[in-house]
Symmetry: C2
Subunit: 200 residues, 2 copies
């Protein structure tokens, strides 16, 4: 990113400026403080005017939603399956990346789950889209259905498994109960084929 500074303010292209503001927002999101911070304080931290923030995002709520969308895109990107011929290896790697994402963004992730469940329609949509992206690619990854045949029942199981994964990882963050990172990854990843097999 090329930038010139002038009088304490950084000169960036509109695109760069927007990215910088979103990056700052994602940081505030990750520690759960984005909902509490005022637009004035946001502008101050970013070294821009309130007017510029409104120009880019329309409102405080608009900024919040843009940040959450950015964070959700990060989650989907960071958990993208690696290039390995073994489906189970790809599943384990994706789950490990998911665990790492939740650990790194715990407060923000909790506030997204809360806001989505609590009835904010835009946040629920972002949350649902991210969850759909995470679960749908399981079927795309396994187009032959070697591990998980694509049926209405397995679609339901995979969706409910994502709730299992979310609860298991958030609960583990709160209270690790002597389970290490490898242990929680194994519990969550191995749960999927076990659930699919049990559902017949």
């Amino acid at each position: 990113m090329s930038a010139n500074t002038s009088g304490g303010r950084t000169r960036l292209s509109p695109e760069q400026r927007r990215d910088q503001l979103l990056g700052m927002g994602v940081e505030l999101f990750s520690n759960g403080s984005i909902e509490e911070i005022s637009i004035d304080r946001l502008a101050e931290v970013a070294g821009v005017s309130r007017g510029l923030l409104y120009h880019y995002f329309g409102s405080k709520q608009g900024f919040y939603e843009a940040v959450v969308r950015h964070a959700a895109d990060d989650l989907v990107a960071q958990t993208a399956p690696v290039d390995d011929p073994d489906l189970l290896v790809r599943l384990h790697r994706s789950v490990a990346a998911y665990v790492d994402y939740v650990v790194a963004n715990e407060q923000g992730y909790r506030s997204l789950v809360r806001a989505a469940a609590g009835g904010n329609e835009t946040l629920r949509q972002i949350y649902d889209e991210a969850r759909f992206a995470l679960t749908d690619r399981i079927f795309r990854e396994d187009a032959a259905g070697d591990l998980i045949p694509d049926t209405p029942a397995t679609r339901l199981v995979v969706r409910a498994w994502s709730s299992f994964a979310e609860e298991a990882v958030l609960s583990w963050c709160e209270q690790p109960r002597g389970i290490d990172r490898a242990g929680i990854v194994r519990i969550v990843a191995d749960a999927l084929p076990a659930l699919v097999a049990a559902a017949g």
Copy 2:
């Protein structure tokens, strides 16, 4: 319940009156309308004065919370394990009762989940207590650990399984995908031993 009527109003003991109001509230809870209804309309439907409602429950919010607690107690009572020597039979019967409860109270149950997740502290506590009652008795039922040994890891798995169950049943209510009641009961009940076995 013994009652005398006088001039269109029913004479009940304070205890009976409170029960009657809670029963009415649970009905409003089950169809999801309890949050929207005004205290005036509540009093009108119940045939009591606003003052009496305040006398029993302190506030609209107090009434709402008492009703949700009542509904959560019903859930725990209705899903109590039956008397059968086979642990798996008891598990299936409990899950079947849970499915029936969610079907009968779908809108109320959704609004409880939403309110608990959305940050209402009292409702979160009622929800957590009900969930703890539902999962903890799995360990009490199986004190010898024949199906589920009581370890920190299985406690985590059972807790996350309850999120799996909730998502699976609510998702099935919304879109049955050709799965009948017996099918969803089997998917949810069989998931538990499968998850415990997978977690090793």
